[in-house]
Symmetry: C2
Subunit: 349 residues, 2 copies
Amino acid sequence: MQPAITEQRADMPSSLKALYAPVAGALSDVEDLLAAELSSGHAFVDGLIRHGFRLGGKKLRPALVLLSGQATGSRHPALSRLAGAVELIHVATLVHDDVLDEADLRRHLATVNARWDNETSVLLGDYLLARSICLAASIDSSSGEVGGEDAHLSCAFACRAIAEAARMMCEGELRQAASRGNFQIDEQEYLDIIAGKTAALIACSCQLGAHYADAEPDVVERLVRYGHNLGIAFQIADDLLDMTGDEAVAGKSLGTDLDKQKPTLPLIHVMQQASAEERRSLQKVLTGDGNHRRKTLQPWFERYGAVEYARRRAAAFAQAARREIEPLDRSPAAEALRGLTRFVVDRES
Amino acid sequence: MQPAITEQRADMPSSLKALYAPVAGALSDVEDLLAAELSSGHAFVDGLIRHGFRLGGKKLRPALVLLSGQATGSRHPALSRLAGAVELIHVATLVHDDVLDEADLRRHLATVNARWDNETSVLLGDYLLARSICLAASIDSSSGEVGGEDAHLSCAFACRAIAEAARMMCEGELRQAASRGNFQIDEQEYLDIIAGKTAALIACSCQLGAHYADAEPDVVERLVRYGHNLGIAFQIADDLLDMTGDEAVAGKSLGTDLDKQKPTLPLIHVMQQASAEERRSLQKVLTGDGNHRRKTLQPWFERYGAVEYARRRAAAFAQAARREIEPLDRSPAAEALRGLTRFVVDRES
């Protein structure tokens, strides 16, 4: 066994560990697989990869591949590799996000750009992206099932799905970059942006799990919609955390959305409720100098119940996710998928 | 037809246009395909993509896919898409390279990071990478040839080859980043680095062309080795250009390798020939302040014939590339492949 490139995170919440229980063994296989796959033979590169992986944490996406598979069909040998592939995409985007956000801290650790530099972060992210596709493209050789009746379980579907999710993520991020400083965008545009930026890969994880477990197409589609709604709920909760969370608990720099002038749901809600005059004052605070907007904006959020509003919206998406998987047979995996819809909105980190 | 996202470059050297003549029509199909594929429906994103593509120029990689295919086998419908996919990877790396190099100018145009910012460049590069894999993964649906006898011509081979090339490129770049400021690396290590950074995608382009033209495996391997040697020659010439070229002709910032403390072949040669005392003086110039090292180092290069040495090495790799394709049947495409081995070492931009 290789050195633990993907060493298990000490601070994974115990509630999450319990939800992952039905796939705990398979999830640990994914860790081993990534450790073995990712060693490059170059000390500098391997040190970077190890650090990059310590920045990831929840293993939500690989767990969703495995749980979606187990809840809807039979275990396919490709599932571990696909779980590894989506986690690689996720870590790649974390590494690049930290460049974009100029963040110094993630999960109580220095980010790659803080510890090395932007150049290294860009390259490491690209490297992990490339490795993800290499892994997804390798599933035929591992399962020996290309062609014939099982052609739909070849790597083509996975490569397409993962690349498409990555495309949607970048498009969401680019649209977010374009909307920076524009707090007049409406809720639908915000939702479209986070659907790409966050929900696409989560939906893709669920889709891959169900597809390669050979579930019926309509079940696969249910899982896609489950993942989409779960992802939206997850991101609204994440934005709330950035605005209201505790840095010591979250283990990362907070308040960066406001400092980076990203419009998020509580703010969009305030802007839509506020009078024209209030909007002008708000705009001044939002685009003015200084990095302590979180505090300054507190009274506005309270006046318009913005945090509660965003919490309600997140809960509604979580509920929509639950509804999608209601028809699934009862099983520990299906129960875990249901539990995750509660976890994503209640989490503190 | 979409607006010309990939508008033809005005300054493509006429010698190159002549070499591309056997595949001129197919190359123009690739441009149309990219224009149609890349439109995202978001004005900001499309503007970025259009700018990104104006930074590319030689279309060497798509031309190599098409020429390698034509020189070794029969025209396969996937070739245009694969040519588009490798060009997307190339443009993605240009966009990211300009972040890494903090370059302001490429092909007489402002780079994405200069015109927008690093964040936009990182995201645009990621987006193009993702679109490349989407395109490669789509060739089954376009040619309808997955499974059965033609399984080896499914998208699996292409996805693997492109992702593997991207992985090698990142690994090469990361190793280069790790070697920055270390002018004691030997020629072999330099060659290993540029084999990843540059030759991998060029070799991959030739491989894809021959493979999907259904050439015999040993012919495909010849084309891979041709591309590898061509790529090494290309990169040595590129490094020489950075050191000796004319910014007005090259249309980009030059001297950046020295300013970024990247060890390149002429310098490695000087360091290996110089006495211990000279090496110490050189090291001081190389790692000291100031961005005018090109001028200061000129006498050293002349003393050890460093530029001529690097030119000879580039020529040797170009010759090795020619040898690989000697057994191919005479054809305009094979002749163009031969011509390219001369072009890459003689070019001025």
